[in-house]
Amino acid sequence: MMIFFWISLIVIVISMALFVYRLIKGPTAPDRVIALDAMGVTLISVVALLSLLVGTSFYLEIILLLAILSFIGTVAFSKFIEKGEIFDRGDSD
């Protein structure tokens, strides 16, 4: 079973490296945002696999933290791309 986890870990890390390539290469901003979001997901998988391999439950909170941060980051980027601003002032309507 451990072998299986190790192999998954390696595969995920390789895919992460590919995301880094996409993040740098672009070519458009949405590409980069999606690459970042996907990197968040792979990072979560890495932490989960590590916590299985090490056999501790202390890492589980990191997963939640990463999920929250990557979600908010993606939402903020998307809103910026879509609307050109992050916070609405709320007095225009």
Partner: protein, 140 residues
Amino acid sequence: MKSSDVILQTATKVVFFLIFLFAIHIFFAGHYTPGGGFVGGLLTASAIVLLLLAFDLKTVSRALPFNYTIMIAIGLLLALGTASASILFDVPFFTHAYDYFDLPLFGETSLHSAMLFDLGVYLVVVGATMNIILTIGSDD
């Protein structure tokens, strides 16, 4: 212009409370396990940021009518006050007290004065983070 953020707004209404509860969990976990006032405060701030993203500054300031500068001040006073209580008992500064209490529902619980200090840290972190984000985010 009222935009069509229906999905984001609906999701936010649920996710905000999830993040907030997780922040409280992290805050209380901070005594023996990783966590504490600082991380809890940052998570709470990120929950508020999510609200700001989904709605707008005006709506959020109506829903959460806090003055974040005052929040920093209260947090500082709470943290310092807790630490300074040791002066009254003439023990070194920051010495913390704890005891075991039989609470209904929780059973035997250990309550620490360090928690109050951490609450102060929590308030300072939320206040400072939100101050920074609002200053950068709203361009006036």
